[in-house]
């Protein structure tokens, strides 16, 4: 306690001294709660790297209207109780302007109320519908809605005349959200789910369940909703069993290294994703092309690893916040209003059109169907 007392006294003295001098430019403190380690690290690690890269970039240009950004990133490890503690710490102690994150829906739902009462803008990188339904004044999210993603899959299936499917999902929040949406939308899309199986995210072999499903000759397609490594394992097990059924995956397939992990088994897999993964193949007049190619180039050069759509959610959150500050200065309420009324904002996940009733801003067109051909992502045309 003695140490922190002395530290606090020093802090008070310094801030007193600083406030005496005429402040021309403020530093805007932006907090981030991300799952950089732990079971959700495939989300949080690229998100954290993206934020660091963008903050550096913008400060090198002198900040927004002269105001530099100070990033405070906290690693929650995917644990909701840490997220709660960090959220309160960021709001009460660091007095951050806004919080980006958390990476998972479970954590976001726990801090939604805290940010709302603390009147701090929250730009979540998690996808659950309940984050923005019901709409909370200060809470926004940047990933596409799971319902839109599933809708895209079903539209593609309808075009391919597929009506009977099997669903495999992992037991993570991601998998369960997808499974929930699939079960909800299947009846109205005329798709019949013949079998649903949930497996542990750490499962190492699914050949037994694949064999069981393959024995059911009525199944016309399989949807697998999970992330690494189960995504690749399911693909291999299905192809090794000699089952030539069309495989649809989730937008969790959005990184070329997952394709590499599955190797030859990834050929022909169909999945919905934002256009980030086919940035270089987009037509020049596509409004997203410039943003996507520059993000891809900068990220891959700086971190020597492939870009993923998950990092893109943090990109969108940061850029949206910056735009809000550009438009409305450093007053929180005004920035919140600015964000809420942002239209036509080009991000990695799509083009955002926020409104007081829509704090996600993305529509069904934010998602496009991709497939794997020759080990690379191409647009899926049927």
């Amino acid at each position: 306690m003695k140490r922190s007392f002395a530290a606090t006294i020093i802090m008070l003295a310094v801030s007193l001294a600083m406030s005496v001098s005429v402040a021309i430019a403020e530093t805007i403190k932006v907090g981030a709660i991300l799952a950089m380690t732990g079971p959700a690290s495939f989300l949080g690690a690229p998100e954290a790297r993206t934020l660091e890269m963008l903050a550096e970039e913008i400060n090198a240009k002198g900040g927004i209207n002269g105001n530099k950004i100070a990033l405070v990133i906290k690693d929650s490890g995917g644990n909701p109780e840490k997220a709660i503690s960090f959220a309160k710490q960021l709001i009460e102690e660091e007095k951050v302007f806004a919080i980006i994150g958390p990476s998972t829906s479970g954590e976001t739902l726990k801090i939604k109320q805290i940010c709302e009462s603390g009147k701090t803008i929250l730009l979540s990188c998690a996808a659950a519908e309940q984050i923005v339904e019901p709409v909370a004044k200060y809470v926004f999210k940047t990933p596409q809605k799971d319902s839109h993603v599933v809708h895209a899959i079903f539209e593609s299936m309808k075009a391919a005349k597929i009506s009977k499917i099997a669903v495999l999902a992992s037991n993570t929040g991601f998998g369960q959200a997808g499974k929930g949406q699939i079960e909800k939308q299947a009846p109205e899309s005329g798709i019949q789910v013949l079998a649903t199986e949930v497996y542990d995210s750490k499962a190492t072999d699914l050949s037994a369940i694949v064999a069981k499903l393959a024995a059911n000759k009525e199944i016309q397609a399989v949807i697998n909703w999970s992330v690494e490594p189960a995504q690749a394992i399911v693909l291999k097990n299905i192809r090794q069993a000699g089952w030539k059924v069309p495989i649809y995956q989730s937008h969790g397939f959005g990184n070329i290294k997952y394709v590499q992990a599955a190797g030859a088994a990834a050929e022909g897999v169909i999945f919905p994703a934002g256009r980030l993964l086919i940035a270089d193949k987009l037509a020049n007049k596509n409004p997203q092309k410039a943003v996507l190619t520059s993000y891809t180039k900068n990220y891959e050069t700086k971190f020597k690893e492939d870009v993923s759509t998950f990092g893109g959610h943090a990109y969108d959150a940061f850029k949206i916040l910056c735009r809000g500050i550009e438009l409305a200065g450093t007053n929180r309420e005004k920035v919140r209003d600015a964000i809420e009324n942002l239209k036509g904002f080009v991000g990695t996940a799509g083009i955002f059109n926020f409104s007081p009733t829509d704090h996600n801003g993305l529509g069904t067109d934010s998602v496009t169907m991709l497939t794997v051909k020759g080990g690379t992502f191409v647009e899926y045309k049927k």
Partner: protein, 351 residues
């Protein structure tokens, strides 16, 4: 009176810390301190079990989760579809249910927090007795693995049940009204009140445990730890004492789970995970296996540091390191360490 000196000191320190934070405007420290207080309930209960009764438990996070999840589920699950069934009409008459509004403003029917708390504690007691009887017959590695297995089952259960929110856990848990005007909740305005509620519970638990240790029960537990067969031969019903110690520590863990969940406004599967159980064991070890106050002090310190993110991405590694370093150099905890002894150990070679 002498045995109550540490307790009085603890209360004075708690008040002192709060006044200090008020004076220096660092009131935000109260949040991790309050959370640490609730985790301390688990830790001191585990200290009684491991240090005094000598029974290792690698699954105590499971009891925390039983308390927290049951309370969360009962206070957030909408019972309106069942409101006309005789069971619910009866519960309503007894005052066990409350009405409220959900996020969209529609009227919902929940179980009252007090009733939920009672139910959660009851279930914990039942489970602790049911698990305790077979588990406490085991010793050593078998006991450790059995408790680990119990913890994993609870984790798998909450992860797989839609009733418990699956991987996302349960959110929007309401505050726990203790008295009119006094509630356990995470609201900013009630920070100081909740700090005192949390530490008040710890003070109560410590008073209970200190008295227990100095009573006949405490002596019996220590005798069992020292030499179980001899104690048995003296006519002490070791099985019953071990079991009751197990159940008491389980109930303390469950209470911590219940109140921390209401303070946090939610709970997730991570609270039931293996790493949490290992963390509790690490803290009991570093505090000195049979040192209630040591465990409390270390627990508060480490939990506050962890909750403020001081360990960054190395959080788990820190606790792993603590486990090893303490067990190698200071098996009686940091406070029981005498430096020359530690150095001697370092320099000693061979067996």
């Amino acid at each position: 009176m002498k045995r109550h000196l540490p307790l009085i000191l603890m209360v004075l320190i708690a008040v002192g810390v709060q006044q200090l934070t008020r004076a220096t405007g660092t009131g935000f420290y109260l949040t991790p301190l309050t959370m640490a207080a609730y985790y301390s309930l688990v830790i001191v209960g585990l200290c009684l079990l491991m240090g005094y009764a000598g029974q290792i438990s690698l699954g105590h996070a499971g009891f925390f989760a039983i308390g927290g999840y049951l309370s969360a589920m009962l206070t957030t699950r909408d019972l309106t579809p069942y409101q006309d069934t005789p069971v619910l009409v009866l519960l309503g008459k007894l005052g066990f249910t409350t009405t409220g509004q959900d996020m969209f403003g529609a009227a919902v029917l929940h179980v009252h927090p007090w009733a939920a708390c009672g139910c959660a504690i009851l279930v914990t007691i039942i489970v602790a007795y049911a698990i305790g009887i077979p588990v406490l017959k085991l010793k050593g590695h078998y006991l450790a693995m059995a408790t680990l297995g119990f913890g994993i089952i609870i984790y798998r259960l909450v992860l797989a049940s839609p009733l418990f929110g699956e991987a996302d856990g349960i959110s929007e848990v309401p505050g726990f009204p203790l008295l009119p005007g006094l509630a356990v909740s995470g609201d900013f305005e009630n920070r100081v009140t909740n700090y005192y509620i949390g530490w008040g519970m710890v003070a109560l638990a410590m008073w209970l445990l200190v008295n227990l240790i100095h009573s006949r029960v405490g002596r019996a537990l220590r005798a069992i730890h020292g030499a179980e067969d001899a104690t048995n031969a003296m006519g002490v019903n070791t099985a019953r004492y071990k079991l009751n110690g197990f159940v008491l520590s389980a109930v303390l863990a469950a209470m911590a789970g219940i109140f921390l969940t209401h303070y946090n406004g939610g709970i997730g599967p991570s609270e039931a995970g293996i790493m949490k159980s290992v963390r509790y064991v690490a803290i009991v070890a570093i505090g000195g296996m049979a040192n209630l106050w040591g465990a409390l002090l270390m627990g508060t310190l480490l939990n506050v540091m962890s909750l403020r993110g001081m360990f960054g991405s190395y959080d788990d590694a820190v606790f792993g390191l603590i486990l090893i370093v303490i067990m190698l150099f200071a098996p009686h905890g940091l406070l029981g360490l005498s430096l020359p002894q530690g150095l001697k150990r370092l320099l000693k070679r061979g067996e």
